[in-house]
Amino acid sequence: MIKIIKTSMVLLIAIVISACQTTSPYDYSKLQVSKPRSILVLPPMNDSVEVGAPYTFLSTISKPLAEKGYYVFPVAVIDTFMKENGLPTPAEMNSVPIAKLRDTIGADAVLYVHIHEWGQSYQVLSSTAVTKAYMKLVDTRTGEILWDTTAFAQQQSGDGGGGLVGALVGALVTQIMSDAVDHTPTLSASANDRAINDMNRGLLNGPYARSGQSK
């Protein structure tokens, strides 16, 4: 018995440790040359069926970028400004030539975001909430990609104990509760925070980062 516990302990520790690491180092050379001070986040393109996804994402991206030391343009001000200038949808905003964004807004870099998955899906015994977005940071002078990543988070609920009946009731309760509560802002905030602060392929510190921060 003790032997089994010991073996599983070692295995689990190995899994946990490997979860922290990724294999190949990220190439930061272009980011290190460009050294952007300010980041403009455009309203994301959206492949999911959740129509609110782009703006929910926008409400979860300023904090991790600003805490990383960058000036982040006010996302709602930018959205309003672009709409008032004849660009009513994210698709149109994303097709503006990057040099023009530099001229009118003065951004050093633009974060282009593409949402792949978003929202809650229900199975018989559980419900899953997911957010998945690819993002790339592009230099507004050269048009080169400085950094890119995928932010992903998933939350499963409803598989509590109590046998089949318990599980069914659990799933039902979770579904009823999920109708009232939108889990995607919390998930997206945590996904963005982890992607931006990842030890191996996160974003490097910006000019406002406090001294003593990791990167």
Binding site: I5, G52, S62, A66, F73, P74, F81
Partner: protein
């Protein structure tokens, strides 16, 4: 045995996590962005101005700065209510705290100026 195991796991997991305190006082800023697009009735400009002004006081009490974009967002809310004077004060404040905002603030003020002329 079990206890050591749990403690070890927690230590290992927390090694991956990022738990440093924020450098800015965030208050309601991001939650208001969520609400203005998802539940606009809960975040009309007047309500936002009220909550953001309270945040400014709380930030001051805590000795932390408000984040980039905060004052510009407040300026947008004043502009939406037609209060051009307060809106410009807020935009100027954004520029003073973060010089990176200068081109955006100029573009916004140009636009406000043109709209005022058109009236």
């Amino acid at each position: 045995m079990k206890k050591i195991f749990v403690v070890l796991l927690v230590v290992l997991l927390s090694a991956c996590a990022n738990t440093k305190p924020n450098q800015y006082y965030w208050g309601n800023y991001e939650n208001l962005i969520y609400k203005m697009y998802n539940k606009p009735g809960d975040a009309d400009p007047g309500k936002q101005i009220q909550l953001l002004t309270e945040d400014l006081q709380k930030a001051q009490a805590k000795g932390k700065p408000v984040p980039p974009g905060f004052h510009a967002h407040l300026g947008l809310m004043y502009a939406m209510l037609g209060n051009a004077a307060q809106s410009q004060v807020a935009f100027e404040q954004e520029k003073t705290l973060f010089p990176e905002a200068e081109p955006l603030v100029s573009s916004l003020m140009d636009k406000q100026g043109k709209e005022a002329e058109g009236k």
